[in-house]
Amino acid sequence: MGAVLLRGTAFALVWWVLAEGRADSWGVGVVSVAAALAASLYLAPPGAGRLSPTGLLGFAGFFLAQSFKGGVQVAVRAFRPAMDLAPALVDVPVALPDGLPRVLLVNTLNLLPGTVSVRLAGDRLRLHVLDARLPIAEEVRQAEARIACLWRTGP
C-alpha cells in the first residue's frame, strides 16, 4: 500500500510539472497518473527491494560530479590539437546482481568519464575506454558501490 501511495504521489507530481501547474488539465491528469501507476506496478512490482533515499541522493551527487568530469575530459581532448587518446577495450568483473542494477551500471558507465559499455556477458562487462592510462577499474568499482547503495538490502 505504501508503494502505491508513494508512486502515485510521484506520478502526480510529474503531471503537475508537465502541465506547468495548470489546474484545468487534471481531468486528463488523473487518467494518466492512474495509467502510469498501473504500468509501474506491473513492470516493477513493489517489494523487490526498496529504494533508499540517502542512496538516491548519494548516487545523484556522484552522477552530477562525474558527468561534469566526463564532459570536461572529452571536451579538452576534442579541442587539443594532438588529441592524446589511448583507446582500448577493457574487461571488468561485475559484482552487482542481475536485472535492474546491472542495466543501471551499463547505462551509468556510458555517461561517466572515459567509459562506453560494449558488451555484458555473464559477470564480465567489456568497456571501451578513451584513455587506458586512467584508473578505469577503480571508477567502475565506485559506480558499482553507488548503485548498490540505491537499494535497501533485505525484504
Binding site: 506547468e20 501547474g21 571536451a75 576534442a78 582500448a88 551499463v106 560494449v118
Partner: protein, 105 residues
C-alpha cells in the same frame, strides 16, 4: 534591466553551447565509432545539462522550470541506451577500436 539570474543564465547557456561544440568537434575528429560515442555521450550530455539549467532560470514559474529540468534525465537515459546499442552492434560486427587492431581481449 538585466538582473543577476539573467547573467548566470547567459553564462550557463554559453558554456552549454561550448560543450556542444566540443562534442561535435570530437564527433568529427575522434578516430572510430567507439571514441565518437564518448564525444556524444559525455560532452553533449554536459552541454545539455548546462542548457537546461540556464533555461530553467528564465522559466516563468516553478513547474515550468522543473519541466525543463526533466528533459535532462530523459535525454540522458535515451543517450546512454542508444550508445550501448551502437557500441554493442559495432563490436558484434567485429569493428576494432583504433590502435587496438588484433588485440581483442
Amino acid at each position: 534591466m538585466t538582473t543577476l539570474p539573467d547573467w548566470i543564465s547567459a553564462g550557463l547557456l554559453l558554456a552549454g553551447a561550448g560543450f556542444y561544440l566540443a562534442g561535435t568537434l570530437g564527433l568529427l575528429r575522434f578516430p572510430d565509432v567507439y571514441a565518437r560515442l564518448h564525444a556524444l555521450t559525455k560532452a553533449d550530455n554536459l552541454g545539455l545539462g548546462l542548457l537546461v539549467l540556464g533555461l530553467a532560470l528564465q522559466a516563468e514559474n516553478l513547474a515550468a522550470a522543473l519541466k525543463i529540468l526533466l528533459v535532462w534525465p530523459l535525454v540522458l537515459a535515451a543517450s546512454a541506451a542508444v550508445s550501448f546499442a551502437i557500441a554493442r552492434r559495432a563490436h558484434e560486427l567485429g569493428i576494432e577500436p583504433a590502435g587496438q587492431e588484433g588485440k581483442r581481449p
